[in-house]
């Protein structure tokens, strides 16, 4: 069966420091991958999605970036964190050969606090 992992689970970082969050999916191949941010009182915001290795689409302009170095690995990065980057970051996957592409399955999330 498919599983999705995210780490770290929680992170406290100072303003201006770099960021790297990792998401990996097991038990599937060539999935679509997504990064969302959930800020307090603001719902879920799609940040990036990827349909394949090296293919990244950005949904909103920001100081974050994403990369997909391997088929089942999705990384969210920043060179310099802002206070407004605090939130709960969720990775999701969809669309392998057995499951429909419109159904997304979410990871456990990373709670990021920028001080």
């Amino acid at each position: 069966s498919q599983t999705i992992h995210q780490w770290p689970a929680t992170l406290v970082q100072p303003v201006g420091s770099p960021l790297s969050l990792e998401c990996t999916v097991e038990g599937t191949s060539n999935p679509n991958l997504y990064w969302y941010r959930q800020a307090a009182g603001r719902g879920l915001q799609l940040l990036f999605y990827s349909v394949g290795i090296g293919q990244i689409s950005s949904e909103v302009p920001q100081n974050l970036s994403a990369s997909r170095p391997q088929d089942r690995q999705f990384i969210l990065s920043s060179k310099k964190l802002l206070l407004s980057d605090s939130g709960f970051y969720l990775c999701a996957w969809s669309g392998d050969s057995l499951l429909p592409a419109d159904t997304q399955y979410f990871g456990p999330g990373t709670r990021l606090t920028v001080l």
């Binding site: 995210q6 679509n32 719902g43 879920l44 799609l46 999605y49 709960f88 969720l90 999701a92 969809s94 669309g95 429909p100 592409a101 419109d102 159904t103 997304q104 399955y105 979410f106 990871g107 456990p108 999330g109 709670r111």
Partner: protein, 113 residues
């Protein structure tokens, strides 16, 4: 364009009583609709999905939802609430062209003992 509206931001029920979480959708074609649940500091878990095969969709943990095209509604129900049902629930529609998900603003369900 597709959209969903969750009509209640907070719902409070007593344990053992029925749950009703309301969602209306807007779509130019037959949509794929979902309900997800999120417990505090956890990821989103898929409860159920509607894909036009049947208007009454049964999900996990005793939840079900009925697709009513005439009312453009997709309300989530459960006959008897349990304390473990306390969580935030999201009604979601899929953009058929891109498969991106469009989330409602969420309904926070509280279950009183």
């Amino acid at each position: 364009a597709q959209s969903v509206t969750q009509l209640d931001s907070h719902v409070s029920v007593s344990e053992g009583t029925p749950v009703l979480l309301r969602c209306n959708y807007s779509s130019s074609y037959s949509p794929s609709l979902f309900w997800y649940v999120q417990h505090p500091n956890k990821g989103l878990q898929l409860l159920l999905k509607y894909t036009s095969a049947a208007t009454l969709v049964k999900g996990i943990n005793g939840f079900e939802a009925e697709f009513k095209k005439s009312e453009t509604s997709f309300h989530l129900t459960k006959p008897s609430a349990h304390m473990s049902d306390a969580a935030e629930y999201f009604c979601v529609v899929s953009d058929g062209a891109t498969n991106k998900l469009i989330f409602g603003t969420g309904t926070l369900l509280a279950v009183q003992p």
